[in-house]
């Protein structure tokens, strides 16, 4: 029998990334179509439609035209949606639907490595779809300031914060009882509506404004607006936005990796 190298690589996590990329490649056309179609429809209906109405009757929002104000929020939301898809679906497939993780666990990779691999591959996917979104926003004239490209980075950062936490949440699910639909309806939708997406958060009364404060979408949107058109944020608040999203990434990844290990060692 020929001998093969059995040294356990320090980079086993990259094999989990490769696995995800192999699957994503099969969905490339759908990803591309959704990536272009979704923002185009959004911008045509809400951005241009409502934007024209707002701009015709006001001097804009936050000192800029409505579409410019709206664009960073749409970008941040797109990144979050993409990150959720790329973390929750693989985790559900691996643990519940096809149970592939229970086959992979017999290889040298650990549960922690699998979790990290999914999250890293989500970075690539989020960067790709958010990048397309940004280009379409730019084509629509919504990203016309010099530093607008920075909003792409802040959106990806926000997406990965939600992705890390959702990776952990998905790893807790034992049975698929429509959990993803519940998350979409009762977490994502309120977050989308009450995070200052369509209007500044300060216009909301205090008793619902807290939803925005805890929502990663609002923190990501605020950073995106600062990066995109110079929305005024005090330095301390900017640090809080970055730290808050960083906390989601840190805690989400820590508990997700731990949970993956525990669940695959049962």
């Amino acid at each position: 029998m020929s001998t093969i190298n059995r040294t356990v690589s320090r980079w086993t996590v990259l094999h989990a990334v490769e696995h995800r990329l192999l699957i994503q490649k099969k969905w490339f056309k759908s990803i591309l179509l959704f990536g272009i179609g979704n923002p185009t429809l959004y911008l045509l209906s809400i951005g241009l439609g409502i934007g024209s109405l707002v701009d015709a009757n006001t001097t804009g929002v936050d000192g800029v035209k409505y579409l410019t104000f709206l664009a960073p929020a749409l970008l941040a939301n797109a990144a979050i949606q993409s990150a959720m898809t790329e973390t929750m679906f693989p985790a559900m497939a691996g643990f519940i639907w096809a149970k592939t993780f229970f086959g992979i666990r017999s290889t040298p990779i650990s549960g922690k490595g699998i979790a990290s691999g999914i999250w890293i591959s989500a970075i690539l996917q989020v960067a790709f779809t958010t990048g397309i979104y940004w280009i379409i926003l730019w084509l629509f004239g919504a990203m016309d300031h010099a530093g607008s490209w920075l909003s792409l980075l802040t959106a990806i950062y926000g997406g990965l914060a939600v992705g890390a936490v959702m990776l952990f949440v998905a790893s807790l699910i034992d049975h698929d009882d429509g959990f993803l639909a519940i998350v979409n309806r009762f977490v994502m939708m309120p977050m989308f509506l009450f995070s200052g997406t369509f209007y500044p958060l300060t216009t909301l009364p205090l008793y619902v404004r807290w939803i925005g404060w805890v929502s990663p979408l609002w923190h990501s949107t605020e950073l995106g607006r600062w990066a995109s058109y110079g929305h005024s944020i005090p330095g301390t608040i900017a640090i809080i936005h970055i730290a808050y999203l960083g906390l989601w990434i840190g805690l989400g990844l820590y508990f997700a990796r731990r949970r993956f290990n525990q669940r695959l060692a049962k």
Partner: protein, 312 residues
């Protein structure tokens, strides 16, 4: 016979696994030498799969000591898994990938190069008789094909120890014999086989040594022939008198053989010459609906040791 009986590749000492109040494996001891084919037999819930998973370094023990290739799975699990091939009870294949991609990506998890995997995947597709299905998605395969793919997947890293948890469940007889042939060849190459199965012929064909487990403990240990010699008679006479008449008939059959077992559907008479006993039964006027003379098997050993059949 083991290829190198001096080298111990698996050593379990007082190995125990507890889930809350439930003791799945209760302080078992065994050693497996390099090149040996070692079988774990027992009914569902006996602790076989739990033992297999502890050996596979995917489940930590609660107590005792376990060494795989001289390494402790608590601290060296990835290093141990790099040397193992695991064929689990459930296939756990990736339905989104093709047949060939399933083999390829599994190999990548072992850190195997693309240059190694390209011919290896082809070799294993041939072995699994799935060459024509190489570009099909897994969900399009039949149950038997999926099982063959799972077995092929377990060989991707040329394992030193191959763990087979009920490997041929769902395979047709021809595929089972092909797998047995392949396992024999691996054994000749020095690969250690650890096997659980519900098929007695499979255990007798493949295993040098067997442990019979029940309720998390080892009931007996030895070669298939040795276990049969120790715990059963040479032959068995199976008699059916009808479901409501077996118990009554059994009373009349006392003393006809060395031992007697009453099962829900039949009576087993253990003896050295079953033909002679059958003649005597007929001569004495007892009229069984059906009768069968056969040699003793591991099933009989298990029945003797645990009072239960292996497949429940």
């Amino acid at each position: 016979m083991p290829a190198n009986s001096s080298e111990i590749v698996i050593e379990a000492t007082n190995l125990k696994k507890v889930y809350g109040d439930f003791v799945a494996v209760n302080g078992i001891n065994f050693k497996v030498t390099k090149g040996e084919s070692f079988g774990l037999l027992g009914p569902n819930g006996a602790g076989k799969s739990t033992t297999m998973r502890m050996i596979s370094a995917t489940l930590t023990r609660s107590e005792g000591d376990l060494k795989i290739l001289g390494l402790d799975p608590v601290t060296k699990a990835p290093q141990i898994r790099a040397h193992l091939g695991v064929i689990p009870q459930q296939d756990h294949l990736d339905n989104e990938l093709t047949v060939a991609e399933n083999l390829y990506i599994y190999g990548r998890y072992f850190g195997l190069s693309r240059a190694y995997l390209k011919p290896k995947v082809e070799e294993l597709l041939e072995f699994a008789q799935l060459v024509e299905k190489r570009n099909e998605k897994v969900e399009a395969l039949s149950g038997g094909m999926k099982r063959r793919l799972t077995i092929a997947r377990g060989l991707i890293n040329q394992p030193e120890i191959l763990m087979l948890d009920e490997p041929t469940t769902g395979l047709d007889p021809q595929a089972r014999h092909i797998l047995w042939d392949r396992l024999f060849r691996l054994k000749e190459e020095g690969v250690t086989l650890i096997l659980t199965t519900h098929y007695m012929d499979e255990a007798e064909q493949l295993c040098d040594r067997i442990v019979v487990m029940d309720n998390g403990t080892i009931m007996a240990e030895g070669s298939p022939a040795g276990l049969i010699a120790e715990y059963s008679s040479k032959e068995v006479l199976e008699l059916r008198f009808g479901s409501n008449k077996n118990i009554e008939a059994a009373k009349a059959l006392e003393g006809y053989g060395d031992r007697l077992e009453i099962l829900p559907d039949r009576i087993l008479l253990y003896c050295n010459d079953a033909e002679a006993v059958l003649e005597k039964v007929n001569h004495d006027g007892m009229k069984p609906l059906t009768s069968l003379v056969r040699r003793s098997s591991l099933e009989d050993v298990f029945l003797r040791l645990t009072g239960r059949t292996l497949v429940e």
